[in-house]
């Protein structure tokens, strides 16, 4: 049994997920964590999967990729070990006029602070650029990170907010 990282991307149409998932199920490849989303008319799937060796999975996906409709890659990866990070979960929103380097600049601030991005989505809607990220901050660093983000946001002429994404246990 190997752990596989699979990406599939193609022009969006109904049935992509069903086709790919069916091909994997037939091989006995078990989908674990995945995100599948539409990005500007392209449908992008990133999957982690337990199953047969990578070449076998690649071969099974090949008919779907024939005709250039879908682009699929399969790589064997080392299973993750150890617990998730102990950072303080925060949600960061950035929005403003689109310009080159917004993502690079704000994520550099996070990286320098030792913050870990666990999820990030960007959307370009007309002239408006939007970035939403889930970030684990090192304990006690929120204020400093927020101040640093404000500086960078002012330079880029975008708005940034960083707020705790606290969970209530019920």
């Amino acid at each position: 049994m190997s752990e596989l990282a699979i990406t599939v991307i193609g022009h969006d149409r109904p049935g992509i997920v069903a086709d790919v998932a069916e091909a994997l199920a037939k091989l006995g490849a078990n989908l674990t964590d995945s995100t599948m989303t539409r990005l500007r008319g392209h449908f992008a799937m990133t999957l982690i999967c337990n199953g047969p060796a990578a070449p076998e999975v690649e071969a099974a996906l090949e008919p779907l990729a024939a005709g250039g409709q879908l682009l699929a890659t399969v790589r064997e990866v080392r299973p993750e070990t150890g617990a998730a990070s102990a950072g303080e979960p925060h949600l960061m929103s950035v929005h403003g006029a689109d310009r080159l380097g917004i993502v690079a600049a704000v994520t550099r601030v996070l990286a320098e602070a030792g913050a870990n991005i666990t999820d990030l989505t960007t959307r370009l809607a007309g002239p408006l650029y939007v970035l939403i990220a889930e970030v684990d901050l090192p304990p006690g660093s929120a204020e400093a990170v927020s101040a640093r983000l404000d500086e960078v946001a002012a330079r880029l002429d975008v708005d940034v907010t960083l707020r705790p994404a606290e969970t209530d246990l019920l």
Partner: protein, 191 residues
């Protein structure tokens, strides 16, 4: 006459206290998803049935020993029944608070001020999710032990907890109500 809109001056539980249930309950193991009992609608119960009274006491005992736990429903201890307990005393998001109590056959009869919040659940230990809940609810139920009908008006965190537990009694998890495909998260591990 008391003002029904001002919870501070009413006691809808009418003096009900945990002691009504008799002996302290036992701490029971908490069931986790995908156990089928969590997905089954609980049956209505007779609030004066000794077994139901015992169950309410067990739920309170189990809630009390579970760190951070503010509510527990019968399906979470493997019993498909409409019984749960709640205690949000001291939680920072609590406004109106009715102390520690257990309810049977509870229903939300009014709900307003919907707002999102991120929830975790002892029965789904590895995930959290964004769920919209009413910030103000009116709940009708009967009290275990006395069987007295109650009508509880509450808000903020107690309202959220009641909705979460009433959902459990209906066979629903927060996963059934998450706000979107991107609204479920791996729960963080605090060391």
């Amino acid at each position: 006459m008391t003002d029904p809109l001002d919870p501070a001056v009413t006691d809808p539980l009418d003096g009900w206290a945990v002691e009504v249930l008799g002996e302290p309950g036992d701490v029971l193991p908490v069931v986790t998803a995908p156990d089928a009992v969590l997905s089954r609608a609980g049956a209505e119960v007779d609030p004066t049935d000794p077994k139901v009274i015992r169950l309410a006491a067990d739920l309170i005992a189990t809630m009390r020993v579970s760190p951070g736990c503010v509510g527990l429903a019968a399906p979470q201890v493997g019993v498909p029944a409409q019984v749960f307990c709640v205690d949000v005393v001291g939680h920072p998001k609590t406004a109106t608070v009715h102390g520690t109590f257990a309810l049977c056959n509870a229903k939300v009869v009014e709900a307003s001020r919907w707002r999102p919040g991120r929830e975790g659940c002892m029965s789904v230990p590895d995930l959290t999710g964004d769920v919209k809940r009413a910030g103000r609810v009116v709940v009708e139920a009967v009290l275990p032990g006395t069987g007295a009908p109650v009508r509880i008006t509450t808000d903020a965190f107690e309202a959220r907890a009641l909705q979460h537990e009433i959902d459990h009694c209906a066979g629903l998890l927060f996963l059934d109500r998450v706000a979107g495909a991107h609204a479920v998260y791996q729960r963080k591990v605090y060391l």
